[in-house]
């Protein structure tokens, strides 16, 4: 592939677009597929043929458009009209009305805050390009950043741009990406590796899945740029086996990129070579931890090991290894294209750029959103999310999954970034955001996450293996209405022990949901213990419990 060839692919693609006619974009991400969007796509195709519009109209599958609750979604590329909850029976009407005002009955208002309040960098192509065609990605400036990096920058300059951007790891901990790249670049070793962490194990998060399904080439391009910057020629993407569609799209994307010479030997005629392989996870939450993930890529049980040495020095097969999250890599191409300063101009002082969140739970507009750092929780939940459905009252928002915490109403005005979330006892996490209303019992929620950590503990270190089990037993006693004040004291002590003595992030953060609910919803714990009742009516206590035994 030469720069001219890349340009030619983009031109041909754009020319075809300017020919006129209509293109119907059907969301083919996992959410909409599970509401039969594949059948909708078929019916639209048939309707076009039936009306003899084959020459001027076409149907294409695109990635996630965000508003999952209104799926399947269909957009008309040329007019921007968006249709929601489309059924195969609606296809005829949609096709008949192409070129006329949109069908009122199915129209989805794109002027609502859900769409207007977002800022898209990572998801800029999501819902627009066909994830299965590399040509569309190229037409959307795809692989331009890789070309620029390889032909007009040296590796240190690439890392410098990333440092300048202020990008921090999007996997949750928020380590400065440029610093990590610099460390791996400096580490001595004949072989180095780049790993993309797509083991999105947080229950309630689906950002990585959507990015991989909607715009897989963006992640590949980010990885190749990283490989050039740190001096690696082999990359691995570790993806959950539970995401079959993402795995398939990735594998296809890698093949296409190889065929076009955008991965493989001597990319763009330079001396730089880079290959990427997919590695499947097999359902272990702990594999999101970097050393456990490395063990899993090596084909072993996913158990973490003490750090240091950090993977940047000794990672995969003891070689220096760069590990970044899917969303981190997806941010790289635009940073290289537009420069680090452009990126640093978005967001807050300590949190640059945007963050993708999976908004779910007790909120009207559930789906995938991307917002600038520094936006308030209230804006996310009540404007973009449309508020709490069924006239219920907001109780808490949970971020960071089993490692995060529950944030109560008093902090809704808080600007969202890494530090502010940490200050109120939660974490940014990978981007799961679950809204809870008055019908959720916070003790039950804490128990839910503890059950999760208990089963997902790999068993290597005692505090995590035994501690999470003890904490779960105590929480079960509390929700069952048989706990004493002493049990609560014991629970608090265990939170401290498990947090401070566990080997890896799983154990260290496992007490977070308990600590944060105890901090803000202590009255609910007390009601269970002292009055033997569950204020939200979720836990079965007393007579009710006896009846079910």
């Amino acid at each position: 592939m030469t720069p001219e060839e890349l340009q030619k692919i983009a031109d041909t693609e754009l020319e075809a677009k300017q020919k006129g006619g209509h293109t119907l974009c059907v969301c083919m991400a996992a959410g909409c597929v599970s509401t039969q969007s594949d059948k909708v796509k078929e019916s639209l195709q048939q309707a076009i043929e039936k009306h003899g519009l084959k020459e001027t109209c076409k149907v294409k599958g695109v990635g996630c458009m965000g508003l999952c609750m209104a799926g399947p979604l269909v957009a008309v590329e040329q007019t921007g009209a968006l249709y929601q909850m489309v059924t195969p029976q609606d296809a005829d009407e949609i096709v008949k009305n192409l070129g006329k005002p949109p069908v009122k009955r199915l129209e989805c208002d794109t002027t609502q805050p859900f769409f207007t309040r977002q800022k898209k960098i990572v998801l800029e192509n999501s819902g627009i390009v066909d994830a299965e065609r590399i040509e569309e990605y190229i037409a959307a400036k795809g692989y331009e950043a890789l070309l620029e990096a390889l032909t007009s920058m040296n590796p240190a300059e690439v890392t410098e741009q990333v440092s300048k951007s202020g990008l921090r790891g999007r996997g949750g901990a928020g380590f400065p990406t440029g610093l990590k790249w610099g460390t791996v670049a400096k580490a001595r070793g004949e072989r180095k590796f780049v790993i993309c962490n797509g083991d999105e194990g947080d229950p309630g998060a689906f950002m990585d899945r959507s990015v991989l399904e909607s715009d897989p080439h963006r992640v590949l391009e980010g990885m190749a740029i990283a490989g050039y910057a740190v001096g690696a020629s082999q990359g691995y993407i570790y993806v959950r086996a539970e995401y079959p569609l993402a795995v398939k799209r990735l594998k296809d994307a890698i093949k296409q990129a190889e065929r076009h010479g955008l991965l493989g030997h001597n990319i763009f005629g330079t001396t730089f070579s880079f290959n990427i392989e997919v590695r499947l996870g097999a359902g272990a939450f702990v594999c999101g931890e970097e050393t456990a993930l490395i063990a899993s890529v090596e084909g072993k049980r996913g158990q973490p090991r003490p750090r240091p040495p950090f993977p940047a020095e000794r990672g995969l097969w003891d070689c220096p290894t760069l590990i970044n999250n899917v969303e981190t890599f997806a941010n790289i191409p635009p940073i290289i294209r537009n420069g680090g300063e452009w990126f640093a101009g978005i967001g807050t002082e300590k949190g640059k750029g945007t963050k993708v969140f999976a908004l779910a739970g007790a909120v009207k507009n559930t789906g995938l959103i991307e917002v600038p750092m520094g936006i308030s929780l209230r804006e996310i939940i009540f404007e973009i999310g449309g508020g709490i459905p069924d006239g219920k009252k907001f109780k808490a928002v949970q971020t960071g999954g089993p490692s995060g915490g529950c944030i109560p109403e008093q902090f809704l005005e808080m600007a969202v970034d890494y530090d502010s979330l940490a200050k109120v006892g939660s974490i940014m996490g990978s981007g799961g955001m679950i809204v809870m209303d008055e019908t959720s019992c916070m003790v039950d929620v804490a128990k839910f996450f503890m059950e999760f950590c208990m089963t997902e503990s790999c068993g290597k270190c005692v505090p995590c293996r035994v501690g999470t089990k003890q904490m779960h037993e105590l929480l079960t006693k509390i929700t069952g209405g048989t706990a004493t004040a002493g049990d609560l004291a014991m629970l608090e002590e265990l939170c401290d022990v498990v947090k401070n003595t566990s080997l890896c992030g799983l154990g260290m953060t496992a007490p977070n949901p308990v600590v944060s609910t105890l901090r803000y919803f202590r009255d609910e714990y007390m009601a269970h213990i002292n009055d033997r009742r569950c204020p939200a009516g979720v836990c079965k206590i007393g007579k009710e419990q006896l009846a079910t035994v």
Binding site: G204, F206, A284, A360, G361, A362, F449
Partner: protein, 166 residues
């Protein structure tokens, strides 16, 4: 190091073993390919039995104990055959707070089995999953791999009853 390059014989004439072999060969029969090999076995046979574990262990020149260790460490692998139909209830956070426990309860009630079990007539396997990533459509249930959105206990019961009576 002296390498023993003789490959173990296939466990049977079943042609599907060749696919397993191909996966291991693609990675040069290196021990790193263990998880990939187990994925292939499970994909084509539905579960990992003793014969398969032994075959993979021998092919990759690893102790069976290590292979067994990996196969049982990861939730995705199953050592037991599945029923004719599989119903996976998502127990991710979003599904949990939107009523997944009630769905599971209803299914357990009519199928008379717990998650991870298969009915005696091998018609149905019930599994509770960590998270499908379909949180926007919570609560979600996958019937034979097809994800259904916004499921109610009644709808799940209906579907299971139809399967069990088929």
């Amino acid at each position: 190091m002296v390498m023993n390059l003789t490959k173990p014989a296939m466990p049977s004439d079943d042609k599907r073993w060749k696919i397993v072999n191909a996966t291991m060969r693609r990675h040069g029969h290196s021990q790193h390919s263990l998880i990939e090999a187990l994925h292939t076995v499970q994909e084509i046979f539905g579960f990992l039995d003793e014969t398969a574990l032994k075959f993979v262990a021998k092919s990759l020149r690893m102790p069976l104990s290590k292979v067994y260790g990996v196969a049982t460490f990861y939730n995705f692998f199953t050592l037991k055959p599945q029923g004719e139909h599989t119903c996976v209830v998502c127990m991710g956070t979003a599904c949990y707070i939107k009523g997944a426990p009630q769905i599971l309860e209803a299914i357990e009630h009519i199928a008379k089995i717990k998650p991870g079990e298969t009915t005696a007539d091998r018609k149905l396997t019930v599994i509770s999953a960590r998270c499908f990533g379909s949180c926007g459509l919570a609560p979600a249930v996958a019937y034979d791999g097809e994800v259904a959105a916004k499921v109610t206990p009644a709808a799940a019961t209906e579907k299971i009853r139809r399967w069990m009576n088929s």
